[in-house]
Symmetry: C2
Amino acid sequence: MGTEQSSDVVAADRPLRIGEVARQTGVTPRTLRYWEEIGLLEPAAYRESGERLYSPAERDRVLHIRELQDLLGLTLAEIQDVLASEDTVERARRAARADAPTLKRLQLLSDAIEANRRLVERINDRLQRVIEFRDECIERGNRMAARRAELESQLSRAGKG
Amino acid sequence: MGTEQSSDVVAADRPLRIGEVARQTGVTPRTLRYWEEIGLLEPAAYRESGERLYSPAERDRVLHIRELQDLLGLTLAEIQDVLASEDTVERARRAARADAPTLKRLQLLSDAIEANRRLVERINDRLQRVIEFRDECIERGNRMAARRAELESQLSRAGKG
DNA sequence: CCTACCGTTGACGTTAACGTAAGACTTGGA
DNA sequence: TCCAAGTCTTACGTTAACGTCAACGGTAGG
């Protein structure tokens, strides 16, 4: 019943330097510093020298941010909102570990659920519109294909006759 | 059996001035001029004075461009590609009206179909990833909801006992 | 024909989201 | 201890996609 400590293998949650996070996520150190500058992503800690130290949680957050950016096309400002909502989840989690009263925990959890619901709704709206757009494209494709078939049969009749 | 001409009602395809197109589509005149500058959208004609004249076709194209921008988050450069593909469709249509040989028309049509297919594929890729992302969000929501239910039942038992 | 818009062409300004470069300091391994 | 590689801050540069302003000319309705 040892703890999860094992110092001879690379600790799974050893602090990451900025370059490591960058390599693991595909963003540049500059981007991480910029995100910090605008209050989007804080390092887990700093060394006395000023060097930034990240934990795997932050690395995951980087990936999350990139998805919100690339997939949903949100601006960093919008992403801040979304993350602020999601942080409610984190607060709820912390409250769970601490000795927070059940009622308080319920409240936080409900907030988090609500924030999540709004995000899903937002995504669904977007999905709906993209699907409609795609279907229009498919429709056009079908009409063109039909027209092509028509032309082809014309051509074959001409070849026969 | 008159033609579709009727000059006493507002002609459906009367040339539109830049401000009209702007109002009808929600973009600014500046944006239309910019799109023209980068070769994204040409007016149907110019007056001698230099004033731009658009037809309903261009107005529709504006809406189309905005959808590609907002919904799919494409850059104007990417949109140029997409539109170039779609213009193949237009060329095929023109060839159909003209006395182009059936074989030529078939070729153009096939190109258009292929371009459309690639666009649909692209959209589907995006859709797939967005759906996965949404489902992850929903999953998280479900876990939180379950946790909340747990807390609630805890609370009610405490209230009873 | 007059007037109130509408439009034109420059040309410079703006915002988001970083890139890049300089100069100094840290860190980690041989 | 030493050196290469990494990191720090500061600050200016860049790109896309327009916004804004000035100075000027065209358009349309009464």
